[in-house]
Symmetry: C2
Subunit: 354 residues, 2 copies
């Protein structure tokens, strides 16, 4: 690669800084501009990351010929407009999970991405953790045998801290509450590991949060492979991030302390993968290579702009993760009846393309 890929940050909150630090740990990306509606935030972001200029409007940013792609970290309900606008301006776009808050928005992004032909990536970084990658190797090379069950849980205390000012407190911006914010990670992880999900069966509850969205969601997931999955997502307890796989030859148990999640290059140091072989009760520690999930996904996106990499989580993969969330919401509304992903995707207006 002759020169660094020139990207711009959009929405300059906590997560934009996490990603900027990830990008600056490598030498593939040059953050050349940034944009937020708040001028003070723009200045602070420029200062923190040594960024030469800021745009006064999103249109100005997209008109900047130096900018090859944008890193969007705004609230979920703004993803569609910002992404579509970028793609239509010929700029590559990256946004964080979920692809959008609704499947309608998600489908619009899929269509815009496929029309535009420029790279679009969604930051489902969790599948890049060393433990996720190692579990996938055990599946692919047959060490785990046939997987019959997968259980995952992502929970923390944030539902107890939500205030009325926050967009995460309302179902129009955060449908499914904890399920779209935390559960969606495992909706992607489990499909990365086990292949496409067919349906979700779920119960959602608003128990202990003051917000107007569920703080406890339990979902069963049927996979096209025949395996069954479970995703627990809670916002009313100390933090948990686990994935357990049960196979005919071995079990794998993954446990991550996600309080270090923001430092993508250190996250693996706070994780543990253990294996339990057929006929054994002992669990052995599996050595994990270290990864840097944020840097890796951003560099992949950047290199895809130059045609030197392929985006792993594009619009279709991200839409399938979101579809698990919305099938779970629909299931809970129907008293726990299984809801097929195909149904909610079609209801969102997706044509044959999705």
């Amino acid at each position: 690669m002759s020169e660094k890929v020139r990207l711009a940050s959009v929405g300059l909150g906590r997560w934009a800084r996490v990603l900027a630090r990830g990008a600056q740990r490598g030498d593939v990306i040059d953050l050349v501009s940034c944009y937020s509606r708040d001028e003070q935030k723009r200045q602070a972001f420029q200062d923190e990351f040594g960024i030469g200029r800021a745009a006064a409007s999103y249109e100005e940013l997209l008109a900047d010929p130096e900018v090859e792609g944008v890193l969007i970290t705004t609230p979920n309900d703004t993803h569609r407009d910002l992404v579509v606008q970028a793609l239509e301006a010929g700029k590559a776009a990256y946004t964080d999970k979920p692809i959008a808050h609704t499947l309608e928005h998600g489908v619009a992004i899929v269509e815009a991405a496929e029309r535009s032909g420029v790279p679009f990536a969604v930051g489902h970084s969790a599948r890049r953790l060393a433990g996720s990658r190692e579990m996938k190797r055990w599946i692919d090379d047959g060490r785990i045998g046939d997987v019959s069950m997968a259980e995952a849980n992502f929970s923390n205390e944030r539902g107890l801290e939500l205030t009325p000012e926050h967009w995460r407190s309302y179902p129009d911006k955060t449908p499914g509450g904890v399920m779209i914010q935390l559960g969606v990670h495992h909706a992607d992880n489990l499909q990365f590991l086990l292949g496409p999900a067919r349906s979700a069966t779920a119960h959602a509850r608003k128990l202990y949060t003051a917000a107007h969205v569920p703080d406890v969601v339990m979902s069963l997931v049927e996979f096209e492979s025949g395996a069954l999955g479970y995703i627990g997502a809670g916002w009313a307890s100390p933090g948990i991030y686990t994935i357990n796989l049960q196979g005919t030859k071995a079990n794998l148990r993954y446990d991550l302390d996600f309080t270090h999640w923001d430092e993508g290059h250190l996250a693996d140091d706070y994780s543990e993968l253990r294996s339990q072989a057929h006929g054994q009760s002992e669990r052995e520690v599996v050595e994990l290579q270290r990864t840097d999930m944020f840097r890796e996904q951003l560099e992949e996106f950047a290199l895809a702009i130059r045609g030197e990499a392929t985006v792993e989580v594009g619009p279709r993969e991200a839409l399938r993760a979101l579809a698990v969330v919305h099938a779970a919401i629909a299931s809970s509304e129907r008293g726990g009846q299984a809801v097929e992903l195909a149904e909610v995707i079609e209801a969102a207006g997706a044509g044959a393309a999705v």
Copy 2:
């Protein structure tokens, strides 16, 4: 207590020996007789446990004035007839989980037990493990805060070993397969911990066993308290026995190596309970007192015969555990729709009494 309580063992297989060893670890119970259709098994059982006599028929056993109660360890589909016959003969009766294979049989046992007025107990021993008791204390004294989620898994490899000769291979004797054999333990544990369940939502699959029953069942459980539960039961992977509770003040994670399950007095030595406090990611080991689940439940049953103890898991508690299993089976048959326990119990012909 002036003298030992005189009990007789019925069905002299592996589990009868586990229970006899449990009874003989204490000095409350005297095993005075035994019965199996197989005369050789009777003789071997007498020899192994130093039992003075054996009955040539079940009727003969129940007519023995020395025998105060029977310990029934025959296949699930024989529980009803043997229990009801014992109770009608005025003998106290103990049987192992599940109370019966069908709710119709379970309801018949409940009615017979309440008509008879003599003690009837079901061996849901798992709730007596030190970890279960300690989790209950954390709930009762408020240390865990409000519990929003409970996840439990009981799995082993036995589905892969089932042969056509075995009664566990057929749905008429083992409806729900792994769910009635393993999942029923957690159906009792979670109701012991969180109170009555209201409904089950489940998917059952026959994936890797040669038997004609499911080897993978995942169930969501709604509790009357509002909390949500999950029970995973698998017969196609290395062994797992876990209970995780998520509360607003703490999480508890219990993990048992059940390969030592048969030695009830040692099981706690192969278990671990860890707590995770609000705002913390570290998990601290919780000290567990030792218990002897089989001895304890048998002595409680024996002392209940003398009016010196109360049976903890009687017919109603055991029926509610079985009702979770059958609600889960019905739910899976209906494509994962939530099924209320009340519906399946009523459908089994239970009157207002249950």
